[in-house]
Symmetry: D2
Amino acid sequence: MASVWNKGLNISVFGESHGSAVGVVIDNVPSGIEINYRQIENFMSRRAPLNSRIGSTERRETDSFNIISGIFEDKTTGTPICAIIKNRDYRSHDYNEIEFLARPGHADFTGSVRYKFCNDFRGGGHFSGRLTAPITFAGAICQQILHTKGIKSFAHISSIGNINDKKFDLNNTTIKELEKMQSKSISVLDDMIIPKIQDKICDVIKQGDSIGGTIECVVLGTPAGIGSPIFDGVENYISYLAFGIPGVKGIEFGAGFKTSLMTGSENNDEFYVEDGVIKTKTNNHGGILGGISSGMPIVFNLAIKPTPTISKKQKTVNLKTLENTKILSKGRHDACIVVRAVPVVESIANIAILSQLIYQGSF
Amino acid sequence: MASVWNKGLNISVFGESHGSAVGVVIDNVPSGIEINYRQIENFMSRRAPLNSRIGSTERRETDSFNIISGIFEDKTTGTPICAIIKNRDYRSHDYNEIEFLARPGHADFTGSVRYKFCNDFRGGGHFSGRLTAPITFAGAICQQILHTKGIKSFAHISSIGNINDKKFDLNNTTIKELEKMQSKSISVLDDMIIPKIQDKICDVIKQGDSIGGTIECVVLGTPAGIGSPIFDGVENYISYLAFGIPGVKGIEFGAGFKTSLMTGSENNDEFYVEDGVIKTKTNNHGGILGGISSGMPIVFNLAIKPTPTISKKQKTVNLKTLENTKILSKGRHDACIVVRAVPVVESIANIAILSQLIYQGSF
Amino acid sequence: MASVWNKGLNISVFGESHGSAVGVVIDNVPSGIEINYRQIENFMSRRAPLNSRIGSTERRETDSFNIISGIFEDKTTGTPICAIIKNRDYRSHDYNEIEFLARPGHADFTGSVRYKFCNDFRGGGHFSGRLTAPITFAGAICQQILHTKGIKSFAHISSIGNINDKKFDLNNTTIKELEKMQSKSISVLDDMIIPKIQDKICDVIKQGDSIGGTIECVVLGTPAGIGSPIFDGVENYISYLAFGIPGVKGIEFGAGFKTSLMTGSENNDEFYVEDGVIKTKTNNHGGILGGISSGMPIVFNLAIKPTPTISKKQKTVNLKTLENTKILSKGRHDACIVVRAVPVVESIANIAILSQLIYQGSF
Amino acid sequence: MASVWNKGLNISVFGESHGSAVGVVIDNVPSGIEINYRQIENFMSRRAPLNSRIGSTERRETDSFNIISGIFEDKTTGTPICAIIKNRDYRSHDYNEIEFLARPGHADFTGSVRYKFCNDFRGGGHFSGRLTAPITFAGAICQQILHTKGIKSFAHISSIGNINDKKFDLNNTTIKELEKMQSKSISVLDDMIIPKIQDKICDVIKQGDSIGGTIECVVLGTPAGIGSPIFDGVENYISYLAFGIPGVKGIEFGAGFKTSLMTGSENNDEFYVEDGVIKTKTNNHGGILGGISSGMPIVFNLAIKPTPTISKKQKTVNLKTLENTKILSKGRHDACIVVRAVPVVESIANIAILSQLIYQGSF
């Protein structure tokens, strides 16, 4: 089931980059939840490349979606939601020899082995970043459902190359700041770094190169007690889904890799009671203990590798002839997918948390 | 399904730390694979605390297993394998008030919310590290099955606190080195750091504290083409399972978080053909592209937090009375679970890869 | 996951009777299988109501499908296949009070409880027989994949009311007869009963009533050894899927309910060897022993209840007001869905067997 | 996953007939449910062969269970429940040539193909009726959980050969009658047929033969609205699980196969309101419409074939040499498993309904 998430929700993603459309079916959604189409559009538009942002592909994807089923009189019916997102300006059959040159860092090679050269390789096919559009649609639906329980997720660019945003701070970051972040063309907490990011991306574009980064995501409002030990915890779900985003190479929760340098007395978050609620003053545990939410913000951080498609000549092989050769990719590509990936990261957080809630019978 | 992995294989883990036993059922194993009991014992003994190692609990767990089903005349039958591992010297009902004091960094609090105070909280119950024993049994079975296909996984302590082992090096680390590592009492590539690690652990023990670390794991021999895009890739499986190990707070594949600092031209692993096989000279991708194995070594690195149970006084709350109070944990505990976690990490790698192979019909 | 089958294959069905379209996503199909569109059309056309057949709804559903993904250059890519089937002449928002009168025998009542009155109730919504169109599409794809292994399924009307077709006979029914059956407008082995069936249906139409029947299905060519004991057998899969067809109220394999009247010596199918192949002379076991195929034809029989929507006045309740009242359904409906259900039954057989084969790694 | 049920609950059954034990792990049970061990014993004892009943194997299986995990202070913990049931007097390695003679009607042949002769064939191994013991344990646990919601299931022998019990009658069968039935050594509604059944079984025993039958099961108290359309309905779950009981060859819900003879006006159960509750006067739909419970009793009927192992000489083949030969089975076996299967049928009903409730978040 290459493209299916089936815990609590069943989310089946389909489509290829240069086919007629991509889309998604979301099954097991609770019935009777009001769905605001404008909000979905706004959410999805954060994934779309914009002229105002620097470093994105020139190909314009407005990503208007068509809901086929599952919503009736603006409410979820409880039966499967299907949405189709057309590939408006997809190329026709104009591929050629270059298609058999494996782009380094891409799934061209591994996909050809997996599917015995029968996969639709044009533009990456089913491996394309284009498939994050239906994931984002699913995330937008889950977002609206979670809002009915007061749960909200916020992601921001934590770093691009060596430019670092402020990190989420339990005691100082306000909800307003987080909400404001979602309407910025470049989602960062610290506006001062926006020009630096733009310069950085301009730079790598000039060099025909690309650049990686990290995205931090915070989920607020999850009640304590969501998740299960061992193989059904919140971390299992989020990480599983996160590696469904092309380019993700690492994930850490709370203090993450820094905990490996700490002693227990440094890392342990002490508990205290405030107004009858158990809390922690620090949040090294990232809101999850033993796979179960603690009621503190769920915090995770993702490493995203630089876009593999670059305009520099690279050594590679011809997959058909098995000859060593070189490749020079032309045409549009994102120099930094990190910018567009922000709502995708929120999406997988939304999917994971809603899956857990449904699974545990909260709907 | 708190404690069930069900992709390719169905692995159902059960038991509590202070119950009579822990165990596991492994379903969908191929039939006719010879199982060597001595090898299982050796593999599992690497998880057990040993006097020769420093920093482990004094409680002696020999972890002898009892196979109830699924193996007949030393071969897998193809029907479910169940193994029981007795808790030899478990405490009887001698728990008391202290049990309602939530240990910081532990699942005492979240577990009590999740299960409405009905979970067996003694010694962590089902949340205990003790549950890695049946996971390791499952990993040992998977290991022997993978060996029939020439696939082997090797984990080592990559760091403890700020003491770093050598990293796996595609061009310089030999299989012999890796195999030798598995018989060391402290699994590192660089023997020179063993005394440093021992000193470090002695140190934190003296201070009644604990220390975290990282574990790197390499899987050799996986053919190219194993895995699927989006939600069924090798990274999804490994990360999902990895967060089933108590204390894991982060995972990265290949160059992982370092890729966020790289440009595409730095990070992309160029392809070349050697003896008709497509390879890469570098391995920043960690053997996985688009969720699918490339035939290069699969490499991942885990962050493991310091053991939360420490002998220092910590602020906490009484879960029943909701009063702020302090806790001073006594009794045995591991000052550094990283040492014992090495075969557990290999186990989840084995489970993930075998699950993928079975899923794709390689058995 | 109301509408998802996820064993071996992941099949996610979506859509409502009076929405814009119905459709299906089929994930985990093997790559490189040639797909003949004409064959799909032919297969699906057997489900469509035809003027030449008697008793079907007048609403014309040509059921032309639109493949969105998963097929490239006429071959399966191995990534998800999505097909959309438009609801050409669906009603707009012209429903009214009558919609809250629960049709006896229908899911109007149970659906309204399940989905808190938020399901799309128009024309049955997601509960409509219309949803068998995407199931049949999936069955058509599976059929073509199974043909590459020499596996073929054939269903026929076993009875309508008290008119009985010949039963499949291990020793006397030929493949030719079975293949011919699939091109008849009314799929029966014994052509002599076709006029009787037509008369019967005309009769119930005149009376504003409907009639039930049974459908027998035979799968030829499944090799011995497919399936698993207890909860993953061929019978579990087929029966699970069969109850996904609206109106199915019973299923039996081989001699089925007749075995309850037999002694062991009567029911047991004795084994013999012919040309090195183990066979049975009789087939009371219906090709399945211990959940696993024996290599003999897989045979099952389904009971299909009469269409609940009839043009006779019936007592019922108003779901909103909870008043006792009466209902008189108008408009198109099938007087006997048995005729159209034949390819749907083949479809679920195809899905079940292909799921088992994929599951066991035969592709 | 041969032996795993994983919808709502994850139930993993393990063990072989002549291994040391059989058992089960039940995951995702709600926490805090009181479990009465005596009730489990009583429930399971109905499956055990008793001297007072006629026709059962002489092998005495007291089926005492040992709960390893998941119950603490007599309540479910919410973490996995594992129970082990020892095979007290299992044979040692005294099997021989006869083991390669495929018993007609048994899985000896299909199992040997499926598992390449590596399955434990002694006494049927994992295919043995012995495996219904852990299923019954799981059913007993589910029963006690369902009782907290007022849901109760009752099965009875509907027929043995041509001896028929009364059928469950919506208007005339009382709960008392049903409850009384469960304490009878032979579970029938009509006590008058008990001697007839005993005579019948004596008869077939004398002839070295066996006899089949049917079992009817009623589930009372399920609220309306449980289940989902298409592939997640109550019928899908019950039928899937029912075919996990060795010997089941057919299942029908409500009027079942009789609906195929009816017109819509005969079969439709008219709705009426009584005390604000929607009901039906007849129950041809067997309590399920569109896969969803209607609040009326859920009723299904199973066909159980005669035990294949008989003491008459039968033609068969040697699985190793592929020679035609004859077999004469000796030793203990049940002449009529129908008698013992009654609580197993209740068990699968309990598992199915509880799975649906958990799935929909009722716990």
